[in-house]
Amino acid sequence: MTLFGDSGVMIQGITGREGRMTAEHMLSYGTPVVAGVTPGKGGQSVCGVPVFDSVSDAIASCGPGRIGVSVVIVPPLATLRAVSDAVRSAGCDIVIATEGVPRHDALRMLVIARQAGVTVVGPNSIGVIEPGQRRKLGAIGGDRPERAFVPGAVGIISRSGGMTSEIGLTLRMAGLGVSGAISVGGDELIGLPPARAARVLQDLPETRAICYFGEPGTHFEEELAAEIESGSIQVPVIALVAGTFTESLPEGTAFGHAAAIIQRGSGRPTDKRRRLADAGAIVVSSLDDMAVAVTGVAGGA
């Protein structure tokens, strides 16, 4: 696991419009972007970062062990190939920004990654940020991450990319900061579901509390509740599950993210909140209450 820390970062799709912009913002924040990969564009450079035709070319040039994470920003139908390339040639952790990856492709890439023992965040993740290291993996925070994220003691996990930053902003306005934030991705098929993301954030020594943002659909909140119940999450978890209004609309109506869909009576925010509260999470219903609750358990840090 090299998401956090100071390992080198590679960007697959660095020569695209999104890739260039993300590379520029990651570098200016202080992230050590050491290589870019775009098939057919080897030999170019983006913001001073050398571009290679393949992951194995990048490894050959940077040296083994230098690259700890790859950020994948390629078109949806090219994502499976890019991720497979990173898993096979680099064996590094991966953050997938691409939205709209076909489900069968997502399934295959997650199985391949699991077999290789690498951590995948996403698809459809705005990124991962560690303000204390001035390290960000992906577009998270845009060109001014410090507007939303200042160093501190709170971990953030969110199924919504935008809400990852909004919670950072909420904490900052309350005089609090962030140890690490993970946008786990808006899809149903993701590599680092909230329950596992909570363990990852807890392992950061600064983390004294975790804020969670959930949505309708999936079993992620139920799994997170089970994880808390099992005792493996030692820090307090403050959870907000949005989308209660969707319960009064016809089942099968999709909202926002691909995964935010209630099917056959499962995935209701009301049930998720109850389950999380029963497991010992602090369940709040507004961002104002979240700020108050976090201050109560991690304030003064």
């Binding site: 199985v111 199924r159 902003l169 098929l189 799994e223 926002g256 104002d288």
Partner: protein
């Protein structure tokens, strides 16, 4: 989940070696007589709507004569079910069924497998026999699933049927993968008197994210079936047209709701859910749900705002996002304020904008010049919703 009508689904499945009843799509009672007359063994008339549970709603009819088929078609055409108008029916030859099985497949996102379900109690009452369903997980990257499939039916099938059921399952699984399906349900999967496995009932949904690699499928999916459990309204169709213009950057989603008086113009995915809950918690009633983002152009923001304002009964407008990564607040402000002006809303019409992020200093000026109440980072999303509802109350009726 983009659904495909049953006759198209069956034609697709037959290309993967699955046997299906022969049949024809028909839209008039006259054609029904012609088609049914050519089926001396009787026929089955099924309404072509992209939903399940049709049998219990009278939308499946077993007919012995062409006259019966004709009157079944007369009855079904024009009916409404689950919000879908029946415009066509499928007339199929009747299969001499020896036994009805159930087979379905989907993706299990937690186990990262294909989840395959089977039961020896297929047919309309499968839900009453939930306890009879066995399941297997199939590794999506394994070269073969033969062993798992064998296990599946050894628990479920009648001995004589095991071979044909295994073959049908193998074919169905290959269709499921090749078509980028999200759901495939064969109910019943019948074994007929000649010991043939026939997909008598078939429901298929494919992944709209994968549709670009299946140009043949794209014209078969039912419009709007991926977003809502009902057909699109006129305002929703307008937003679909707005999104279809590829020359404009940004995405817009819009769902029209019954009643309500607050025009809801928000984003992104998670923040919209939170903001809608917040409006409701404060006693407000949104007239629609929306979600826009992806750094939209001024024109796209303008067009979406006009749609939101055009819903009858809208008496105020709520514009809000999470702090933006790349969406430019000044551009949003220009689109929204121009739309308000062009729509000619009354002076007392409250507009509240909570927009923080890229170029928000500039955006604030544009909003305030247009008499929009601008809120910044010192007001939370929930606080903004509270202020919106208060403003609407103060405005009263004008």
């Amino acid at each position: 989940m983009a659904r495909i009508l049953e006759d198209d689904a069956k034609r697709l499945l037959s290309e993967f070696g699955l046997a299906v009843p022969s049949g024809r799509r028909v839209t008039t009672p006259i054609d029904a007589t012609d088609v049914a007359s050519a089926m001396p063994g009787g026929c089955v008339v099924k309404a072509l709507v992209p939903t399940g549970r049709r049998g219990k709603a009278g939308l499946v009819s077993i007919c012995s004569t062409a006259d019966e088929a004709r009157s079944a078609v007369e009855r079904m055409i024009g009916m409404n079910f689950d919000g879908y108008l029946v415009e066509a029916v499928l007339i199929e030859e009747r299969i001499d069924i020896a036994h009805e099985y159930y087979l379905s497949m989907s993706i299990d996102p937690a186990a990262l497998t294909f989840n395959v379900l089977a039961s020896a109690f297929g047919g309309v009452d499968i839900e009453a026999h939930a306890g009879s369903i066995t399941s297997i997980g199939v590794d999506p990257v394994a070269p073969s699933a033969d062993r798992e499939i064998q296990l599946l039916w050894s628990d479920v099938g009648l001995k004589d049927h095991a071979t044909v059921l295994r073959d049908a399952t193998r074919n169905a699984l290959s269709a499921f993968q090749s078509l980028d399906a999200t759901m495939l349900e064969l109910n019943p999967l019948a074994v007929d008197a000649a010991n043939r496995a026939v997909a008598v009932g078939a429901m298929l949904a494919v992944d709209d994210a994968a549709i670009h690699r299946h140009p043949d499928l794209s014209r078969l999916v039912i419009e709007g079936s991926d977003r809502a459990a009902r057909p699109e309204t006129l305002l929703e169709q307008r937003v679909a047209e707005i999104n279809a213009d590829r020359s404009q950057r940004g995405s817009a989603r819009y769902l029209e709701l019954e009643g309500g008086d607050i025009g809801f113009l928000c984003g992104g995915g998670g923040a919209s859910l939170l903001l809608f809950d917040a409006i409701v918690a404060e006693g407000g009633r949104p007239a629609n749900y929306s979600e826009f983002g992806g750094n939209p152009t001024e024109q796209r923001v303008y067009d979406l705002t006009r749609v939101v304002l055009d819903k009858p009964g809208v008496r105020g407008l709520f514009v809000a996002h999470n702090i933006t990564n790349n969406t430019q607040i000044d551009v949003v402000a220009r689109g929204v304020t121009r739309a308000i002006r062009d729509a000619g809303v009354p002076a007392a019409f409250p507009v509240v904008a909570r927009e923080v992020g890229v170029n928000d200093d500039e955006g604030r000026l544009i909003f305030e010049e247009a008499n929009v109440l601008y809120l910044g980072a010192d007001v939370s999303l929930n606080g903004a919703a509270r202020i919106m509802v208060e403003r609407l109350r103060e405005a009263g009726t004008w």
